[in-house]
């Protein structure tokens, strides 16, 4: 192979020295998140979304390995898993948590403003993303980050 040490690809590889976590943690978190969001959608209860927004905020700001769901994974689920799992960079799930936070805040704002449709649509999108992540290992950052960049700098 003629390996090209492209400066950009080098930056991608080494420069940022990203934190690596067990990839099953965020996936487990997505399962819980899906259940919480489905509950919010079924009950129309804004406080469920407020609670989930707090979880998203911790995941978005501190990192997905610090959420209550990650705590449950680390202490109750991981000790029972026999095999070592795949690892991943912390940034992709952190990006997904940030997007989740935006949807949760939109839903909460809609609900407090009396706009029930905004609540329903925002929670529905958040549920779709969380469920896709949980069931199909969907990578939100892979699919939307580049489209966002392209849309922003047109």
């Amino acid at each position: 192979m003629v390996q090209d040490t492209n400066a950009l690809s080098q930056k991608l590889n080494t420069q940022q020295a990203p934190t690596i976590i067990d990839a099953r943690g965020p996936r487990f978190g997505a399962v819980i998140t899906s259940i919480v969001l489905a509950t919010a959608l079924a009950t129309n209860n804004v406080w469920v979304i407020v609670a989930q927004a707090v979880v998203f905020a911790i995941g978005a700001i501190k990192g997905p390995q610090f959420t209550p769901y990650a705590f449950i994974f680390k202490n109750l689920v991981k000790p029972r898993l026999k095999k070592a799992g795949a690892t991943e960079d912390v940034r992709p799930p952190q990006f997904a948590q940030t997007v989740g936070l935006l949807f949760a805040l939109t839903a909460a704002a809609g609900s407090f403003a009396g706009l029930d449709a905004v609540f329903t649509i925002a929670v529905a999108f958040a549920l779709a993303a969380a469920f896709l992540n949980a069931a199909f290992n969907f990578c939100l950052g892979c699919e939307i980050y580049l489209l966002l960049l392209r849309a922003r700098s047109k």
């Binding site: 003629v2 690809s9 991608l12 079924a42 199909f136 892979c142």
Partner: protein, 138 residues
């Protein structure tokens, strides 16, 4: 029970999308007759083209399968003297991303020695898919 309708709709729609997503990610799509973007040049990708094949992978920071794809292609192309592997940070090359219409990461292009894009895979391809895409180029 009316309130369960939104959940049902979301789960049905996202399951349909999820099945499509899993089937299409990683599949190498061979480009048809139309060549919109034109030839890929050494200048565009910041590296000389390979003697037979150039594999160009677009990656981004918020992309878990990009790491696996990098490891796989590096491994597959190791020892192939006529194949060159180039990884590009899509975020830093938005102009090129637009020209080549890259929409998600990882997107891997299989380019022949003249610079024609012969195939592309969106999402992480499997070993056999990378091998056959490289083998198909003369």
């Amino acid at each position: 029970m009316n309130s369960l309708l939104p959940i049902a709709l979301v789960l049905i729609a996202s399951t349909a999308y999820g099945i499509w997503y899993q089937r299409t990610r990683g599949r190498v799509v061979v480009k048809g007759g139309k060549k919109k973007a034109g030839l890929i040049t050494a200048q565009m990708i910041g590296a000389e083209l390979g003697p037979r094949v150039t594999v160009v992978q677009f990656s981004s920071a918020f992309c878990t399968p990009c790491r696996a794809t990098r490891a796989l292609i590096s491994d597959v192309t190791a020892g192939m003297d006529d194949v060159k592997y180039v990884e590009i940070d899509a975020e830093e090359q938005l102009e090129l991303v637009r020209t080549l219409d890259i929409r998600s990461t990882p997107t891997t292009l299989f380019v022949d020695r003249k610079g024609n894009e012969v195939g592309r895979a969106m999402g992480a391809p499997k070993r056999a898919q990378v091998l056959s895409a490289i083998d198909a180029i003369r």
